[in-house]
């Protein structure tokens, strides 16, 4: 998936709630690639333009699974505090 498609997917799946500057996606993708969580390759896009396509790696999946459970625990904790308040 190229960066533009990733940005669109984030907008769609979050029902437009997550609105970040689209540009900030790219430094994040590049850092993730340097960390080995995603790989990228240059290919021709649907409209035949040179585009960089990203793909998650096995290490990346493991890493994000870890982050996901940490995040879920964090949200749960915040919800508990809010109910007590």
């Amino acid at each position: 998936m190229h960066g533009f498609a990733i940005a669109e997917r984030i907008h769609e799946t979050s029902a437009d709630i997550l609105r970040v500057e689209e540009g900030s996606l790219y430094p994040a993708l590049h850092r993730m690639e340097e960390a080995g969580w995603v790989t990228s390759e240059w290919r021709a896009s649907d409209n035949n333009r040179r585009a960089r396509y990203y793909r998650i790696t096995a290490g990346g999946r493991r890493h994000f699974a870890g982050i996901e459970s940490e995040w879920a625990a964090h949200v749960k904790a915040v919800m508990r505090v809010m109910r007590l308040a």
């Binding site: 689209e22 900030s24 960089r52």
Partner: protein, 196 residues
């Protein structure tokens, strides 16, 4: 090793710069095309694409920084941060000439060309110290930082503040430009020390 990675960085620069340029351009073009399909007129479609993207120059600098930093035993990350000069436009900062500009949208951001790796001091490594040092410097057209100061300290005892300053002094940048001419800018950078 430092020499090898420095050489690598030098050789990687031209294609890196082009890749970053192409990737950003591709994104903006896709957005413009989609806006046109949604019925916007061309001027609005382009304006919206840039608004949604945020600062193009800042993004490119951060993309380059992400690539130029490779990790070894002590991984580190450098973020060129905008010095948030407040509202629109650039601000004239210094009374003396030549003027020092803040890095905002009127100015094309400096591009890091060579970044010497800050080394962990053995004491800091033993203390398992991690975190970021924020440094500020003036970047003149020569491309080498002057007046380097620590604006957010991480460690004054075990040497990481000093190490961040030492590394930044060795870095080389393509200077910022205003209307195509190189100018002096004040930039903030975050040098992050992280143990693997």
């Amino acid at each position: 090793m430092a020499l090898v990675s420095r050489l690598l960085n030098v050789f990687r620069i031209p294609s890196l710069g082009r890749d970053v340029e192409d990737e950003v351009r591709f994104h903006l073009e896709q957005r413009v095309q989609q806006n046109l399909r949604l019925g916007m007129i061309k001027a609005d479609a382009e304006k919206d694409a840039y608004t949604r993207f945020g600062s193009v120059e800042h993004t490119k600098t951060r993309m380059l920084a992400a690539r130029l930093i490779s990790s070894h035993a002590a991984a580190f990350m450098v973020t060129l941060a905008l010095t948030a000069a407040g509202a629109a436009g650039w601000m004239l900062m210094a009374r003396r000439s030549p003027p020092i500009y803040e890095l905002t949208d009127g100015i094309s951001a400096p591009i890091p060309l060579e970044m010497a790796k800050p080394e962990y001091t053995s004491l800091a490594k033993r203390a398992k110290l991690q975190g970021a040092v924020r440094v500020r410097c003036v970047l003149p057209p020569s491309g080498h930082c002057t007046d380097v100061v620590v604006v957010r300290s991480l460690d004054t005892h075990l040497g990481l503040d000093d190490e961040a300053v030492r590394a930044v002094r060795q870095w080389r940048f393509q200077p910022a430009t205003l209307d195509g001419s190189p100018v002096s800018t004040r930039i903030d950078m975050e040098v992050t020390f992280a143990l693997r």
